[in-house]
Symmetry: C2
Subunit: 109 residues, 2 copies
């Protein structure tokens, strides 16, 4: 389980991958494998949350890192780079965006 | 606080708004107001989570609805439509995508 909590000030990355529906499952599996074997072992990792769209044309990763510096170190890690290139090759395009300011509103208060 | 929990099977909407940095704050405020006054009053509302990118060029809403039918009813609601049009007018573009399949991985187990 992951929590979105604006008081924690995580570095949040939302990466939207556009994908051909016939490659959707392969991309999902590649991102899952990269999370389990590489990303989650790196310092500052908090969570990764893979979302597959109902039309199989989009896979979105909602990822949290403890700090921006942690995320920047991931981008320099050779193992992480290799996995990101594999994912990129399966996608039509990808659009990673970093977020710092988060406002949360919930029916559960 | 919001939880991303793959066992709950919420209908998740991730809506990525591209925005001019000078209109970013106004768009954020409009989405915040719409959440508090309209969206959160509608049946099936679970959460809305507004994310402002570090470069002020993207505002992303991570929203959860209890079921797909609840979300479809929101799309038909005149009050919700009015607020969505206001937000759309402040953005360069927006890209709402619905997700059903979610896989969550967290350092907190």
């Amino acid at each position: 389980m992951t929590t979105i909590d604006d008081s924690r000030h995580y570095c949040t990355l939302i990466n939207v991958f556009a994908v051909a529906p016939e490659k959707c499952q392969e991309l999902f599996a590649a991102l899952q494998h990269a999370t389990e074997t590489v990303m989650s072992k790196l310092p500052g990792y908090v969570s990764a949350n893979l979302h597959v769209s109902d039309d199989q044309k989009t896979v979105t990763n909602y990822a949290q890192w403890a700090t921006l510096a942690d995320y920047q170190n991931v981008m320099k890690d050779p193992g992480a780079q290799q996995h990101m290139q594999q994912a990129a090759a399966l996608a039509i395009s990808f659009s990673p965006v970093l977020y710092n300011k988060i406002w949360t509103h919930s029916s559960q208060g």
